[in-house]
């Protein structure tokens, strides 16, 4: 089976630029998988490793970063990792070629400045064609030359999708905690103020009470 889903996004904010879903009636891409792909792309930053394979329940995601663009694909678990990265390399080449064709050297600015999701969706047929070429992983693996070039891929990190996406959750947790902290500190501030007042009351209260009592006595005396 060919790669099931391919997406290209901007690394800085995960804004999707091109995407394709295989029109393979046999294996539909579920909206959960779409969401996972979206989440992975959004969780990436400049600090993330340049390549990674991410294992989800029944599929594997592979991503690769090049020139501030991120290329992501999803395959079946049995799909060879090397071929997947070979495919992503080819997608990246094709996309950059198309971008250069359309915008010449200006394409980086175009990519940086776009605000509209899927701005380059019209490259979708190109990726689809590549994707079809990777239909039979075994057949293309006969291409041993390329296989050897990709020997270094063995070193690529492998992570579980939960770990990757949990980072988001952890961040959420941290932000929740900090929000709570903020709230608590506010409460604390209020408490501190209250305490100060109480202290002042304790300090000056008796004096004020005494003085007013004296005045009251004097007043009553004067009236009498």
């Amino acid at each position: 089976m060919p790669p099931l889903l391919t997406q290209v996004a901007r690394l800085s904010d995960g804004l999707p630029l091109v995407a394709t879903v295989t029109s393979n009636p046999g294996i539909p891409v579920t909206s959960k998988q779409q969401q996972e792909a979206k989440d992975i792309l959004r969780s990436l930053t400049h600090q993330s490793p340049g390549r990674m394979s991410i294992v989800s329940s029944e599929n594997t995601f592979y991503y690769m970063v090049r020139e501030s663009l991120c290329y992501l694909t999803m395959t079946e678990k049995s799909y060879p990792k090397r071929t997947a990265f070979l495919y992503l390399e080819e997608v990246a080449d094709a996309i950059i070629l198309e971008l250069t064709k359309e915008f010449q050297n200006d394409w980086r600015t175009q990519v940086d400045q776009t605000a509209r999701p899927f701005r380059f969706i019209h490259y979708d047929p190109i990726i689809q064609r590549l994707q079809r070429g990777y239909r039979d992983a075994k057949a293309s693996s006969g291409n041993s030359q390329l296989q050897e070039d990709l020997g270094d891929i063995q070193t690529i990190m492998r992570k579980n999708i939960d770990e990757v996406l949990n980072r988001g959750e952890k961040l959420d947790h941290v932000s929740n905690m900090s929000a709570e902290l903020q709230k608590k500190s506010k409460d604390f501030k209020w408490g501190a103020k209250k305490l100060t007042w109480q202290a002042r009351l304790q300090q000056y209260g008796p004096m004020v009470a005494g003085t007013s009592l004296v005045f009251l006595v004097i007043y009553l005396k004067l009236r009498a």
Binding site: Q7, L15, P16, A19, T20, V21, T22, S23, N24, P25, G26, P28, V29, S31, Q34, K38, A115, R116, P117, F118, I121, H122, D124, P125, Q128, R129, R132, R135
Partner: protein
């Protein structure tokens, strides 16, 4: 930014100045129906949605449920969300959301619009639908001016215009924007091939290939079927398409899923060679009357379901194999009885179930039918109905006569602007509720209209009713939001918002009625009722609504309640005259036209398929379409002026049509009294045109139109006329609908003439409840008690062809001639058409003030 376009209302500035408050009916009067918690809104009612997009039956909304009940006006609207702009100024503004995203109410998800209230110097805003107080995101903050409006209002279309289109961020996408895809499911039985339908379809598809929307992403695929299903492999590297036949209809398997729905750009040559060979491929098909439409639909669904898109189905005979097989249900004895509704309802739930499944996968069905006998359109039409598609029928398809019309309609459906995987939601101010939707869609959840495709032709109507006794606010706002993917792969949200003042007076409501919109809504309600109950009840309801309205408008000047603003009093003292207010004067005419329309008319001579096609069309019509459809235009051709049919410049009231501003001939009333046997008349209802040729028509005109001077030899119009008269006539035909398809009706032609006379709605018809002529109906409306509140009895023997010989209405029992009809309006002036001369044989009302 441009100032609010398409705005004929009072000038926009100065909204909050007291000056505008003086205009009656424009501004909610302070203190009216305002609950203590709500401030009187700062609403600029001059911000209006263009009529082509949204029209309401009334301009003012009753402030309480009681008032709505007593005024009897159906409250609702008709929305055509993608109606094309007529000129550049009317183009809808596009808004790119900033860092704060699209601003929406956090409680009811209403989109920000010009009618929200800004508070606390712009830090908060109050939703005009649910009254929720929302924080304004800091990135969107702007100071208010002294009138409480934001200072950046004019720079932001979403705060100054009734219609805007947002570019949707990724949160509004479940999947990447889909590719525009077109999948053709073609009947290739011998009937379909012999009629020439297949050749025309192949030709039209081929000619449209260059103009399919999609910028190189467009996908295309084909399935043909007779008693088996045929797939076509259109892989780009093939020289010719490969055909695969699957004859096991129970266990359909899909071979080679990759290349059945292919990228058009890549496989262009294979697709073209397929279309070239298609008609010949099945030229000798031995299968005459077997059709497995159901399995073919399932097969197409399997191929398309990953992407969605438009499925075009071409069917000539009744499907009778596999799932979805139909059987003849026609029953002549049931015609004209309450049993008829049974035939109009679908015979099997299979098509609805399939349609719902299609809708879920974003597939819309456009159905083209070529019936030679009963096809059970009632069942088949469920498929386009619930998938927001269209239905076209060419009865007794004749290649020569209907080929051109079919091709041009198919090309239009293929190349028009199309919105994909769309959903629409309509919201309205709390206290009121949208109760019913009419049109073609499937409702997901409570109120989300699922529209796999939405085109400029798609119109939807809705009823609004009171949810609470009194409205908690002084304004009623209706907002519709259509989320869709454009053919270029952009996800967009078209937001249409309109605020309307509430009123406590029946008079305000009556004066703000939009009759054409009202009739559109009445028609759609009646269609609904005709299926749920019966045609008789539907017609009765239409008639009752009309009578109620006329009665309220004349006598119903009561002002309800105690919160009457000063100034409301004097309305009561007005003398009660018999005049129908000018807004409503066409209501009886349209009502009569609706009752006599093919969709609802009684009698035994309307074929159920014919009626269903008409009902389907009417159910999805916009206001202008339904007005022209119900009350068609009848032009007298034989005596048209020498200037008619030539381009006309200038903005005077001379009626013109089309892009070239072709001057139209004189329009006449829809009554057979107007037809003379030496005349030639052209009838246009927006869907179809008919040319009635009198038996003693001028031979020289016949010569120039048909190239024959004998009435008997007339078959079709000359396509390229040689003389001036013929050219001018063709100009008129082109200007009216551009499809050049005219049915020729010779005087005395039994079948066609009967159908032609159905359109002459000012005459009597021979079914229960339709026996009124226009004059009689007018009389009945203005004074229902005079005729006992019941339709006058009529001998039912007088069939339509006999109508022309009917005695004048004056001789009818219990129907005195109408001297001085009170308030009889002229026939409707279609835009820019001068009122045709008054009714012959009807004395003009002497010096009546209501007569324009």
């Amino acid at each position: 930014m441009q100032p609010p376009a398409a705005n004929s209302a009072p000038p926009p500035p100065n909204q909050q100045m007291p000056g505008l408050m003086n205009q009656p009916g424009m501004v909610a009067q302070p203190g009216m129906g305002v609950a203590p918690g709500m401030p009187a809104e700062n609403i600029d009612f001059s911000i209006k949605v263009p009529e082509r997009l949204l029209r309401f039956t009334t301009g003012s909304i009753p402030a309480s449920a009681g008032l709505q009940n007593s005024s009897k006006v159906p409250i609702g609207g008709i929305i055509t969300p993608l109606a094309p702009a007529e000129d550049e100024e009317e183009e809808v503004d596009t808004v790119q959301p900033g860092n704060s995203g699209i601003i929406r109410c956090k409680k009811c998800r209403t989109y920000i619009n010009p009618f929200v209230t800004w508070l606390e110097n712009g830090r908060r805003w109050r939703c005009n639908i649910c009254a929720q107080l929302n924080e304004c995101p800091s990135a969107y903050f702007c100071h208010l001016d002294e009138t409480g409006q934001r200072r950046d209002k004019d720079q932001r279309p979403e705060l100054s215009k009734g219609v805007v289109e947002w570019i949707a961020p990724t949160e509004y996408m479940v999947r990447p924007p889909q590719e525009p895809s077109y999948f053709f499911v073609l009947d290739v039985s011998a009937t379909a091939v012999r009629s020439g339908m297949l050749a025309h379809a192949a030709n039209a598809i081929k000619e449209s290939l260059d103009r399919l929307p999609g910028k190189g992403r467009t996908k295309i695929g084909f399935i043909t079927y007779d008693n088996s299903v045929h797939y076509y492999n259109l892989a780009p590297d093939l020289n010719a398409p490969q055909m695969m036949v699957v004859s096991d209809l129970k266990e359909l398997f899909v071979p080679l899923p990759d290349h059945l729905l292919v990228n058009l750009k890549e496989s262009r040559s294979v697709v073209e060679s397929f279309l070239d060979s298609l008609p010949d491929m099945f030229a000798k098909n031995p299968v005459v009357s077997l059709s497995c439409l159901g399995p073919a639909l399932k097969a197409a669904f399997t191929v398309m379901k990953q992407i969605g898109g438009k499925m075009l189905v071409f069917q000539s005979i009744m499907p009778n194999l596999g799932d979805g097989a139909l059987r003849p249900r026609e029953n002549q004895a049931a015609m004209g009885t309450p049993q008829e509704s049974k035939i109009l309802r679908p015979g099997t739930p299979w098509y609805k179930d399939t349609a719902v499944e299609f809708s879920r996968q974003q597939i819309s069905v456009d159905m083209f039918l070529f019936p030679y006998q009963y096809l059970d359109v009632s069942s088949l039409s469920e498929l386009p109905r619930y998938t927001a598609g269209s239905l076209h029928s060419y009865v007794g398809f004749n290649s020569e006569r209907d080929g051109f019309k079919f091709e041009s309609q198919l090309k239009k459906r293929l190349t028009q602007h199309t919105a994909w995987e769309a959903v629409m939601r309509i919201r309205c101010t709390n206290g009121m509720r949208i109760t019913n939707f009419y049109g073609n869609f499937f409702i997901r959840g409570n109120d989300l209209l699922a529209l796999p495709n939405c085109t400029p032709d798609s119109s939807f109507a809705f009823d609004i009713s009171h949810d609470e006794k009194n409205m908690p606010s002084s304004v009623c706002t209706v907002q519709s939001a259509l989320l869709y993917t454009s053919s270029e792969g952009q996800r967009r949200i078209r937001v249409v918002t309109q605020a309307m003042p509430l009123t406590q007076s029946t008079k305000d409501i009556m004066e703000s009625v939009d009759t054409a919109a009202l009739c559109n809504l009445m028609a759609k309600r009646a269609l609904d009722m005709s299926l749920k109950s019966s045609l008789d009840n539907a017609r009765m309801r239409v008639q009752q609504t009309c009578l109620d309205l006329i009665r309220t408008s004349k006598g119903g000047r009561t002002v309800s309640g105690y919160s009457v603003p000063p100034g409301g009093k004097q309305q009561i003292d007005k003398p009660d005259d018999d005049e129908i207010p000018s807004q409503l004067e066409l209501l009886p005419l349209y009502t009569l036209a609706l009752m006599k329309n093919v969709a609802l008319r009684g009698g035994t001579d309307v074929h159920p398929d014919e009626r269903m096609v008409a009902q389907y069309a009417l159910n999805a019509m916009s206001v202008t379409e339904s007005r022209d459809y119900l009350y068609p235009k009848l032009f007298s051709i034989h005596n048209m002026l020498p200037e008619a049919g030539l381009p006309h410049d200038g903005d005077d009231d001379i009626p013109v049509a089309g892009r070239a501003r072709t001057r139209l001939p004189q329009a006449v009333n829809l009554s057979c009294e107007r037809l003379t046997n030496d005349g030639i008349f052209l009838l246009d209802n927006g869907i179809q045109m008919s040319l009635w040729v009198g038996s003693a028509a001028n031979p020289s005109i016949l010569q120039s139109l048909f190239e024959t001077s004998s009435l008997q030899e007339i078959h079709s119009l000359v396509s390229t006329p040689s003389d001036d008269f013929g050219k001018r006539f063709m100009n008129i035909v082109d200007a009216l609908n551009g499809q050049g398809n005219v049915t020729i009706v010779r005087e005395g032609d039994a079948h066609l003439e009967a159908r032609f006379f159905w359109h002459l709605i000012e005459d009597r018809a021979s079914f229960q409840g339709g026996t009124y002529s226009y004059e009689e109906f007018m009389k009945f409306c203005t004074d229902p008690n005079a005729s006992g509140g019941m339709p006058p009895g009529m001998p039912t023997s007088a069939g339509p062809p006999g109508q022309r010989g009917m005695p004048p209405p004056a001789g009818q029992r219990g129907m005195p001639p109408p001297p001085g009809q009170p308030g009889m309006p002229p026939p409707p002036g279609h835009p820019g058409m001068p009122p045709p001369p008054g009714h012959p044989g009807m004395p003009p009302p002497p010096g009546h003030p209501g007569m324009p």
